[in-house]
């Protein structure tokens, strides 16, 4: 079985454009969750989110989400130093949910109100597959191309599926990631389900009250490890294993015992042929809903034992970025290994006594860690765990 190296990173986050801005924000424990500016929020209990600041660049004829994707994907490809031929053969796997819905909504809202909006987005620029089409064309990617829709786990699933392509020898390199821009459907829907906290979210806090929404994009370049070494590529980390499971329990509620979460983490360890004690850090799904954090903490404990590893949720700083989350958090996990610093859980004042781990409250922790996992336990029981190893 081929081993997989991570050789390029690209990010657009609520801290701005670029991996550097992202890590600077995360390692300083800055919370980027603020009053929403992109859409109307009157009448909703929660009116905050982590928006990407202005200055993304890219043509305004493209959707916001496409611009995120292009900026992040370009950075990752340039970071990896792939040639034109290597790009042409690289696989592309994109996690997406909202697609270009923000612009489609704006048009639909205006039409409903009887005014004439300037331009009409088409279904093909609105649907999730729009990003892969735009990226494939703009970046000359002609290898296997897929768009994965797996709710909150889309970004992580993309990385896992891309890894499978490299491991199976189908391609030598792959570009994988996730993207989501803020949309009215998402913001209103989570408000309606009463899952949003009116203040910045507080994962693993005893008094947590729900999640915060964010937006952004992240891409990683995955490559056969031997090949990466042979061409002298910079190797950020290895992707040592992954697990993907489904609760098949309820459309919105997770399995109460975290059964699918446990299996996802256990499978990742098994595929990597590692014992649980080898893992020093878990970047949690950590949405700050009372339910998720409780069940996830219990599941982590079942797999790893109490207190065995550091756990933090970067959603405390950038919110839940939906389809981008799994990819943004994969990058955060890789950077934690590279810098030997575990990003904190911001806004964590009173750790929940039921959580059997040090959740790195508010301040980043220096911690040389050999292996780390990133969990994405999506809405309705779609579970992905990625296991990264220090290079």
């Amino acid at each position: 079985m081929r081993r997989i190296a991570v050789t390029g990173l690209g990010v657009v986050s609520p801290f701005g454009v670029g991996t550097k801005a992202y890590w600077n924000g995360l390692s300083a424990g800055v919370c980027a969750i603020r009053p929403v500016t992109l859409i109307e929020t009157e009448g909703f209990r929660c009116r905050i989110a982590a928006e990407v600041p202005n200055g993304i660049g890219g043509s305004l004829r493209r959707s916001r989400a496409d611009r995120f994707a292009l900026a992040a994907a370009r950075e990752a490809l340039e970071d990896a130093g792939l040639s034109r031929v290597e790009r042409a053969e690289a696989a592309l796997v994109v996690g997406a949910v909202g697609g270009g819905m923000l612009e489609a909504e704006a048009w639909y809202w205006e039409r409903y109100r009887g005014s004439r909006p300037p331009s009409r987005p088409t279904p093909r620029s609105t649907l999730p597959f729009a990003h892969a089409e735009a990226l494939g064309n703009a970046l000359g990617l002609e290898g296997p191309r897929e768009t994965v829709v797996m709710a909150c786990s889309s970004g992580a699933a993309s990385v896992a599926l891309a890894a499978d392509l490299v491991a199976d020898g189908v391609v030598a390199t792959a570009l994988a990631g996730g993207v989501d821009a803020l949309t009215r459907i998402c913001f209103m829907g989570f408000n309606a389900l009463k899952l949003l906290c009116p203040e910045p979210c507080r994962p693993f806090d005893r008094d947590r009250r729900g999640l915060s929404i964010g937006e952004g994009a992240a891409f990683v370049v995955l490559e056969d490890l031997e090949r990466a070494r042979a061409r002298g590529a910079r190797i950020y980390a290895t992707l040592a294993g992954h697990g993907m499971t489904t609760d098949a329990y309820h459309v919105t509620a997770p399995h109460p015992d975290g059964e699918g979460m446990v299996r996802a983490m256990a499978t990742a360890l098994e595929r990597a042929r590692l014992a649980p004690k080898a893992v020093g850090y878990a970047n949690a799904h950590g949405t700050a809903t009372p339910q998720n954090d409780r069940i996830e903490a219990r599941a982590i404990r079942e797999v790893f034992g109490p207190g065995q590893l550091l756990v933090s949720s970067t959603k405390s700083m950038i919110g839940h970025t939906m389809a981008a989350a799994g990819a943004l958090e994969a990058v955060a996990t890789v950077l934690a290994l590279v810098h030997e610093v575990v990003p904190p859980t911001a806004n964590l004042e009173t750790p929940d006594p039921d959580v059997a781990f040090d959740c790195v409250p508010r301040v980043a922790r220096e911690a040389p860690v050999e292996y780390a996992i990133s969990n994405s336990f999506g809405f309705g029981g779609q579970n992905v765990t990625l296991l990264f190893g220090r290079a």
Binding site: P123, E133, N137, R145, V170, I185, T246, G380
Partner: protein, 344 residues
């Protein structure tokens, strides 16, 4: 590397609903195109709570998945994975959700509709209905989503990551969507609706449980051909067809029939022909375009694979082929069951 066999099929489409015997009868018949699924097609396939709670597109998916499992002689929960392709997802629910807010403000939002605004809702509902607790994946692509899902599922079984997968796709026809597509300058083509799944297993697992094998997916490959987003490419060179034939140990001259994705979109259909001509020349095997009887939708991938597997009269392995504007391209090489036991 495991060999991947097809052990069940279930389709819910305009002209045919059922398992392998229904598919066989459909292929032997002819008739005018039927692009809509009748409501009676779902009778007995969803229970009372599902009929209340699941949107129509989710019901189509659940129904087809149940038929496929029954056709395969499998009960729910047998370490099952699920890969569903879709081009449009649950458009009706998304529009209804948004209309609820526009008409009545926050109080008009529906919690029941909200999960359907994410395209993996069909997979979520189907996974619960058939207790599929391994990988449960939704792939969104123009035109080729069903074939793509089957290709991805085949790779998973071949690599031993999963023992059994339901793979296929579902799309629902919606008049507002049709209007938006037309207004947006989408090319005209015959669109339909429906759901279709095949059950894929490793040959060892299938034989061990005495499954009735329809055929084998001997090669599966997917790539992208250079083209502008949503455009027809100028290139006709295909790496996907070559890779799939190679994996199957077959040559272009062996191909007995091609199941094409032609749907009435003239430029795209012509591009598909150019790709096939280039890849298979000098051979010119006969072709079948299922969309001419059902309209194009993501359930056709499974129908094509099952049809290819059931085709006793084919002179060699079949090529199930699909290419989308924008360049996503899938090739599957399917051997009839009479041939699967002959090792290459």
């Amino acid at each position: 590397m495991a060999r991947v066999v097809v052990t069940g099929v279930g389709v819910v489409t305009g002209p045919v609903t059922g398992g392998r015997e229904h598919v066989r009868a459909f292929l032997a018949s002819s008739g005018a195109p039927v692009v809509s699924v009748r409501s009676s097609a779902l009778d007995g396939l969803v229970d009372e709570t599902e009929a209340r709670r699941l949107s129509r597109i989710c019901q189509l998916s659940v129904a087809a998945a149940r038929i496929a499992l029954a056709d395969a002689g499998l009960g729910p929960g047998a370490g099952l994975g699920l890969v569903i392709g879709a081009e449009f997802g649950d458009v009706r629910s998304t529009i209804a959700f948004v209309d609820g807010y526009l008409r009545r403000g926050p109080g008009g939002l529906s919690a029941l509709l909200f999960p359907n605004t994410v395209m993996n809702t069909m997979a979520a509902a189907t996974a619960i209905a058939v207790t599929a607790r391994e990988l449960s994946l939704t792939l969104n692509a123009p035109t080729v989503a069903g074939e793509l899902a089957i290709a991805r599922a085949t790779a998973a079984v071949r690599a031993g990551r999963t023992d059994a997968v339901l793979a296929g796709g579902v799309d629902e026809f919606d008049s507002i969507l049709a209007e938006l597509l037309a207004d947006g300058g989408a090319p005209s083509e015959t669109r339909g609706e429906g759901a279709g799944f095949v059950l894929l297993e490793s040959l060892d697992v299938a034989e061990a449980r005495g499954a009735r094998v329809l055929g084998e997916i001997a090669g599966a490959s997917w790539r992208a051909i250079r083209a502008r987003p949503y455009g027809v490419g100028r290139d006709a060179a295909s790496r996907a067809i070559a890779a799939a034939l190679d994996e199957a140990g077959a040559t272009s001259g062996d191909v007995g029939r091609v199941w094409v994705s032609a749907s009435g979109d003239g430029p795209r259909d012509r591009w598909e022909q150019a790709i096939l001509t280039e890849a298979l020349r000098p051979a010119r095997p006969p072709q079948t375009a299922l969309a001419s009887r059902t309209g194009r939708h993501a359930g056709l991938g499974a129908l094509a694979v099952a049809a290819a597997a059931l085709d006793d009269a084919s002179g060699g392995p079949a090529l199930v082929h699909a290419v989308a504007r924008g360049g996503t391209h899938v090739a599957l090489v399917v051997r009839n069951r009479g041939r699967h036991t002959h090792d290459v």
